[in-house]
Amino acid sequence: MEVTAGWYMLLAAGLFAIGAIGLLVRRNALVMFMSIELMLNSVNLTFVAAGRELGLLEGQLAVLFVMVVAAAEVTVGLAIIVAVFRYRSSADVDDLAELKG
């Protein structure tokens, strides 16, 4: 049985859905952030699999750029989480309800 690009797409869809569920269900800001990373990784997998299927290198270059953007996002996001933690002494996003009317 041949492993086609559709299998990778199916796996990436499963990982993306799990990451989305984690983002919706969990309330720890760090775990939510890691769920976002999981979703980015699954999208990278679709890029690479599609690039192989079509014989194009652009899919892998897209993965490189996604990685760069994700690295920048991780540094800034973690700095924000640390700043919020220093201010509120909590990493639970439900505690940040100051704008609630």
Binding site: A5, A17, A20, L57, F65, V74, V82
Partner: protein, 235 residues
Amino acid sequence: MNAELVVFVIFAVAALAGAFVLVMARNAVYSAMGLLMTMFSMAVFYILNEAPFIAAVQVLIYAGAVMTLFLFVIMFIGVDKTFDPKETIPFQRPIAIVLGVGLFVLLALAAQGVWVTGSSLFAGEALGTIENVSDELFGNWLLPFEATVLLLTIAAVGTVALARFEISEPRPVAEVVALDEDDASSAGADDASSAGADDASSAGADDASSAGADDASSAGADEGADDAPSRGEGS
């Protein structure tokens, strides 16, 4: 039963298990370990898909640098194992799971619809060797590559700015007055530098009986010769 199928099944199970651990684990460190397993499985899939350079970058950047940063922040913040079952939004958890499963079904249908052609078109040497990737990246994609340099610089500057973020919550006024009175009563003349430098008006009022000056530094210079330079610097 070819080799790629065996490797795919093994690491697909590993990736899904890591993702489940990420979502389910109560302890944030376990979540990070699950994500690490998923990322290593991703590197294996990249090698299977003729992208050895991307696989190396995945291990170096994601599994190495990013996960180290995550673990550092988890240790810095402290692992919070307290769990509050009270939901802010009612039925948030079942609704989220139903929506996630629906998303998976939609994505899976889209994936199966497009990829009906089957086997790989590309055969021969690997597509994403370092030579091929660098030729393409520093040729046609040079301008986007330079733009990522700008993005990373901005991200570094932003991170430093956020790290220097001071908690500038103004102290209550009564607390400030109590601190100044405490200084003046206990320390008196020998330790008056902090009180005099902090609040010129209160120190001036304190020394007004002896010196009669409205400026705190000149009042301090009259009192003692030994602590006069420090008070001059402080004010």
